[in-house]
């Protein structure tokens, strides 16, 4: 129904530039998640789409219309706030009906819309309560209900789960996913710093960093083919390991000599000119495989081991003191690894190569 188009969007507070060159095409019915570290401007971007922050550069189109200077209420959006922002002096019913009353809808129309939303969100028994008499999860649902009754083209969620406890967060996440499924033609934009939420909910993820978009893609694209070091280390937990090295062989597959001594093969293609190029090699902890051959891949001494049952995490003694330890995640139980020297390698298609922070795959 309604797509979104962001062209060269920029935001600055006086001299301070927060966001620049944001270009993004959202088609109708997508669930886009903005993720990024704290302070990357993801909430600011969402608030600009909502109309709560002034857009200082570029154009924002909703449904083909430029809405830069359109007041929030006429943009066809609805927003769920991090703190829910329920009106404390109104009952659940009045909270949900407020926007419709302002829009001068008829009584019966309002009643029907509120009832429908309350049924979807199982809020019917609580309609006459004040927000303070509700639990965190129920308040969250009222906030969502307040959006549903308005039947907006675009739903905006600003870290909606961050005030809930862990168990409720998982349940509410599923509810939001179901809600999206029940409204396939509605566009949703969801801001979070929790990558599990991003991976599970998104049709596409937008990773924001350094005032701009780092990468846009489906969750698995980001995981399997990160465009740059930042996305590679930001997505996935524990974070991807990075090694320095140089290219020792080029072609369909690339051979890299690690500074630690071992050789690794990567499925990233390179050409003859790349010979000897200084690169960084990224391997996810879960992609490591033990090997007998000390000449391939990485070898190190296990410093700490964590037994989680389904997997075993190995933390290696850093080569240079103070550096991030290399982490390997091996399936199953491996006891007594502490202090042992281990050789690890990875399949060529799981070995990522970066030069100057950018992936060689996207050159």
């Amino acid at each position: 129904m309604a797509g979104l188009k962001l062209t060269d969007i920029a935001k600055s507070y006086g001299e301070v530039e927060v966001l620049k060159n944001i270009n993004l095409d959202v088609s109708a019915g997508e669930l886009i998640v903005f993720v990024g570290p704290s302070g990357c401007g993801k909430s600011t971007l969402l608030r600009m789409i909502a109309g709560l922050e002034k857009i200082t550069g570029g154009t924002l189109e909703i449904d083909g219309l430029v809405v830069n200077d359109v007041p929030p209420a006429q943009r066809g959006i609805a927003m769920v706030f991090q703190s829910y922002a329920l009106y404390p002096h109104m009952t659940v019913r009045d909270n949900m009906a407020f926007a419709l009353k302002l829009a001068k809808k008829s009584k019966s129309e309002i009643e029907a819309a509120v009832k429908k939303a309350a049924d979807i969100l199982q809020l019917a028994p609580y309609l006459d309560r004040l927000p303070k008499a509700l639990s965190g999860g129920q308040r969250q649902r009222v906030a969502i209900g307040r959006c549903i009754v308005r039947d907006p083209k675009v739903f905006l969620f600003d870290e909606p789960l961050s005030n809930l406890d862990a168990a409720l967060r998982v349940a509410t996440r599923l509810e939001i996913a179901q809600l999206k499924e029940s409204m396939p033609d509605r566009t949703m934009i969801y801001v979070t710093h929790d990558q599990v939420e991003a991976m599970t909910l998104a049709s596409r993820i937008v990773v924001l960093a350094n005032k701009g978009i780092s990468q846009v893609g489906t969750p698995l694209e980001l995981y399997e083919k990160p465009q740059n070091e930042f996305v590679a280390t930001f997505i996935g937990s524990p974070a991807m390991n990075l090694f320095t090295g140089e290219i020792a062989g080029t072609g369909q597959q690339t051979s890299i000599k690690l500074d630690g001594g071992g050789f690794l093969a990567s499925a990233y293609p390179t050409n003859h000119d790349d010979m000897g190029m200084k690169v960084k090699v990224g391997i996810r902890p879960e992609d490591f495989m033990p090997t007998e051959d000390p000449g391939t891949g990485f070898s190190g001494t296990v410093d700490v081991q964590e037994n989680l049952g389904e997997v075993t995490l190995l933390f290696f003694v850093p080569v240079t003191p103070g550096a991030e330890p290399v982490i390997a995640k091996l399936p199953g139980i491996h006891l007594g690894m502490k202090g042992k020297k281990v050789n690890l390698t990875a399949k060529p298609e799981k070995v990522h190569v970066f030069s100057n922070g950018l992936s060689l795959l996207y050159r």
Partner: protein
Amino acid sequence: MHPALQGLVTIAIGVGGCMGYFYLSNFLLDRFLLPARALTAAEAATRRRLGTIFLLGVPGLLLAALYLAFFLPRGIFNVTGLFWMAVTALLIYGLWRLRDYVFANGELTAGRNISHANMIRPWLFLLPAIIALGLYLTYPVFETLRLSLTERVPGGGSRWVGLANYIQMADEPKFWEAMRNNMVWLVVVPAMSTLFGLLVAQLTDRIAWGSIAKMLIFMPMAISFVGASVIWKLVYDARPVDLDQIGIMNAIWVAVGGDPQQWLTLPFWNNFFLMAVLIWIQTGFAMVILSAALRGIPEETIEAAIVDGAGPFQVFFKIMVPQIMPTIVVVWTTITLVVLKVFDIVFAMTNGQWGTQVLANYMYDKLFRANDWGVGSASAMVIMLLVTPILVWNVRNARKEMR
């Protein structure tokens, strides 16, 4: 001595006295009565003996001296004597219990001493305030009630007359004029002060020079009511037609073509000119409290309302005002109390003439000009009866706010 110097000395003595009392009561409690250390049984017994002398002996001697000097010559077996004997007995019993509480038998741990000291400490700190309030507030209430039921007998003494003072007062048109005016004050002043305070608080919140504006509006709070009355008397000042008007009201009035008016003598309207003074003073108070309340409103609820389509006025009246309603009520009732007791402004500006009488000024008139303590006390009781329910309600609301 120069009056300013006297004032400074008074402040120094007052503040110094408070600090000294604070220091001394802590010293007494922590060093002498309940030291923060363990005491052996022998030590405790010695202290108990000394404590008994200290806590019972000293007040006992004082009381005995008082009785000998004051009550014995007049006889102690009349109503007053027996009353004071009962009070003395209660006092001695209380001191006895206090001694048992402070000086226990046997070994004492440091923890027991500290916790007992901390239970006594707040009462010790409050003691001067309790005594002062009892002497100057609680006792006068009962004394006024008694006086309102008696009348002066020519040649000295007084006599019980029942409700005669109240009946006499109810027959006086001046009393009903004061009642009527007080009711008008009661509606107009809190409403206008709260309204203006709310407006100013909201309007000054988002502008650069807002804090300067707030400071200026708050400043009248620092002026005494009499000082404010003098200022406003100048505002309402009237000069003969052929002279320049120094009162701003008349200056404007003459500039637009009117004849100079004696504003304070215009029947009925002069009440509102007096109310303006109190509104001028109380707006600052309302503004400060309401401004703090407005800042406490979660920003996101306002943003949610904007997204929901509310305009600035709807945000203000449907989202912000309802959220600070409890504070508005507290501000309103607090100003109501001030209004019910209003005296200085009327006294200094019209002295209740030209139909501007209010209850407090009526009371002053009766009590200190007509020297009729009976009717004066009766009108004081009426004021108290009017204030009490609002006061109780106000305190309850304020407590609810704090929770």
